[in-house]
Symmetry: C2
Amino acid sequence: MADKKSNVYPVIIAGGSGSRLWPLSRELTPKQLIALVGEETLLQQTIDRSYLISKNTPLVVTNSRIHGQVDKTKLKEKVEFLLEPEPKNTAPAIALAVKWVNKKNPDGIVVILSADHHIDNKRFLPFMEEAVVSASTTEKIVLMGIKPSRPETGYGYIKMGGKINNSTYEIDRFAEKPEKKVAEEYLSSGNYLWNAGIFIAKAKVLKTEIESKLPDVAKVFNDDDIEKVFSNIVPVSIDQGLLEKTKNIAVVKTDADWNDLGSWGSVYDVSELDHDRNHIEGNATTENTSGCLLLERGNRRIATVGLKDIVVIDTEDVTLICDRNQTQDVKKIVEKVKAEPNNKECIEHKTMHRPWGRYTILDEGDGFKVKFIHVNPGGKLSLQSHSHRSEHWVVVKGAARITIGEELKDLKPNESIYVPVETKHRLENIGKTELTIVEVATGDYIEEDDIKRYDDIYARA
Amino acid sequence: MADKKSNVYPVIIAGGSGSRLWPLSRELTPKQLIALVGEETLLQQTIDRSYLISKNTPLVVTNSRIHGQVDKTKLKEKVEFLLEPEPKNTAPAIALAVKWVNKKNPDGIVVILSADHHIDNKRFLPFMEEAVVSASTTEKIVLMGIKPSRPETGYGYIKMGGKINNSTYEIDRFAEKPEKKVAEEYLSSGNYLWNAGIFIAKAKVLKTEIESKLPDVAKVFNDDDIEKVFSNIVPVSIDQGLLEKTKNIAVVKTDADWNDLGSWGSVYDVSELDHDRNHIEGNATTENTSGCLLLERGNRRIATVGLKDIVVIDTEDVTLICDRNQTQDVKKIVEKVKAEPNNKECIEHKTMHRPWGRYTILDEGDGFKVKFIHVNPGGKLSLQSHSHRSEHWVVVKGAARITIGEELKDLKPNESIYVPVETKHRLENIGKTELTIVEVATGDYIEEDDIKRYDDIYARA
């Protein structure tokens, strides 16, 4: 495939939330942004995968809320981001990507990858290469189908038609997530594959197909005011809107390990286990514990006694404890929490990422909030002011340059400064190491949306 | 008993740690200081009990480390504290109490209560009254014995001898915690009682008995340098050192509910249960959960799915998850954590009490620590200085008076002050409501023991 790689353009679809992996996933930190299997986030793993397929910089399509949470200092390779104006399911996001590839090379091959799957690359890639060849030499959209290993009721299925060549087949039909009995029939028939949500096609083929099946979505190709176009689109998935309707389609059958990580049970299934069949990460002390997934990500300790087949997910503000065979029901908990007046625990973590670094809420009360603010070397917050809160900053690590009104002040550890309400101010890391300050904000309203931005190197002003 | 109450002196023994109720109990916050059943601490419940027995102010014997953690603003009645110079088990602590009562009234009746038991007062008190009468009219030490309701292997037993009168019996012998089979024999024989660790006797009787059986301990009666006396005492329990050796002893048999709360399983047993047989306190969201004890005391949320007979104890820095029938093994976890280099989680909570209020460690890192400091109205920290750390204080609630060197400054919310290293300083609440400040300490050493005290209204200087 070496000679073909130059016209292959990987596209990573990174929208979606994933409440079934709560409390590690939150609305603003969906599962692609968390390290579920191994030390890298699923997004990074998908980027790694894209570089195995092509040397072209992958395009990540996401929305601005999620984009803000990507810690770009930790991305190992070059990535291009494309932001949806608003989430409208997968078809509009993919149309944006097709437009982007078309401009570069209308004969380019688009490889659509999901950012939230677990794949055994080694076994999967030869089949991907076959799909790329199929897509290059035909006018078809070529899907990746996984040979089922169990009667899974949580996935969509593809019924194979006649063989085209090698592992490539016609598609007879798509099938919704089946009942258990039906899933068992699918499994034993040998004619059904799991729909991995990965597909490959020429950019111009996808463009023509979108124009024919999804005219409202296709408006993104001719109108550069994509905000306006998006506002008129009814949300639609690429599966229902296009793939299930077109005849120009084929599937490559693979038996590689694939898992959509749709629940903590799935995460356990692909995790490395110790001799007690536990997978343990972080600060955990156990006694007579087996078959458990223990993830401690809250800078705390979990201790277990006598547990069997239990999942414990510990974060800064929430601990989930769940029977390993009932992890599909975590979404019921999320619905309950969401229905409460204070449902921040569904939306964001105590630690939030920003283009300049990150902050952690240590505590908050009536009229005040205490935060750690970590600024990356070279990071610079926007020039801003607040109408309702004053801020006290104490530098505990690194070198800070602070703008207060018209003044510039450089602060080192153990120095502090007061930022009065309504005063224009800015914080910058002028050192070579991370800058950490403790902020005590006080005022009658202390939420993040009380901010006026006057200037910003990340174009958020 | 109304006429006898004036010469009855309740003594509450409140030493001991209780690692089996970790992580809610810690070395510095043993179980008597936590609210395990109901909203009041076991100490407060014991104080309430003492006022049902006598109008005399109860004496609480404890040690200085634990005494410092008692939140005296929450004690509802008058209490007198007596501090052991060092923990030497129960006999020396009881000798101090006997000396204290003897000075008041040698004919006084001492009622020794444990601060860490759960008792159904209503059914128990009539039997206590019988025991007080027995102790008043004889020269005997009268124990409280509980009619066993199950073959418990975790308690010590008393074998009854002949009946003296009503529910009062001779004691044939004491028996150690038995094996299961032996416990079953005890139960079916009807001759054995659980030793509740509660006993009543004239002060002069106890003094004479201690002088005869425990001469080293008895030195406290004649020497006011109790630190010196204590330093020479080999730790000894009142049971082994005295009660099991004397013949001047009797037991009152009661069938009242009594539980030593020796494990989370015991706490569940005496807790009020909902229709799913759960006992839930704090911020918890559950789905298909039954037979569970869920205590959330960490200002966080716990969420459970599909749990059966599980105990979850959530604190600011540790979450314990334990099979309800294996809670005896929590001590194995504590041993493991204790063996680690950083074992603070065994010793103290993130929130610690002081005579002037309390503080909570929000976070700490290399060279800095962030705390909330809450000062009670009228509370005043010692005049102090630190050799290794500077402190930044921001007032977020209440009215502070701050001494810095020779200066006095009054601060209100949103005002801050800097306390340089080596500078004498003091913090005082001059308002009528709680004062809350955020402290950011920075320095090369930031532990609590870097403190020089020059003056203290609580006599700690």
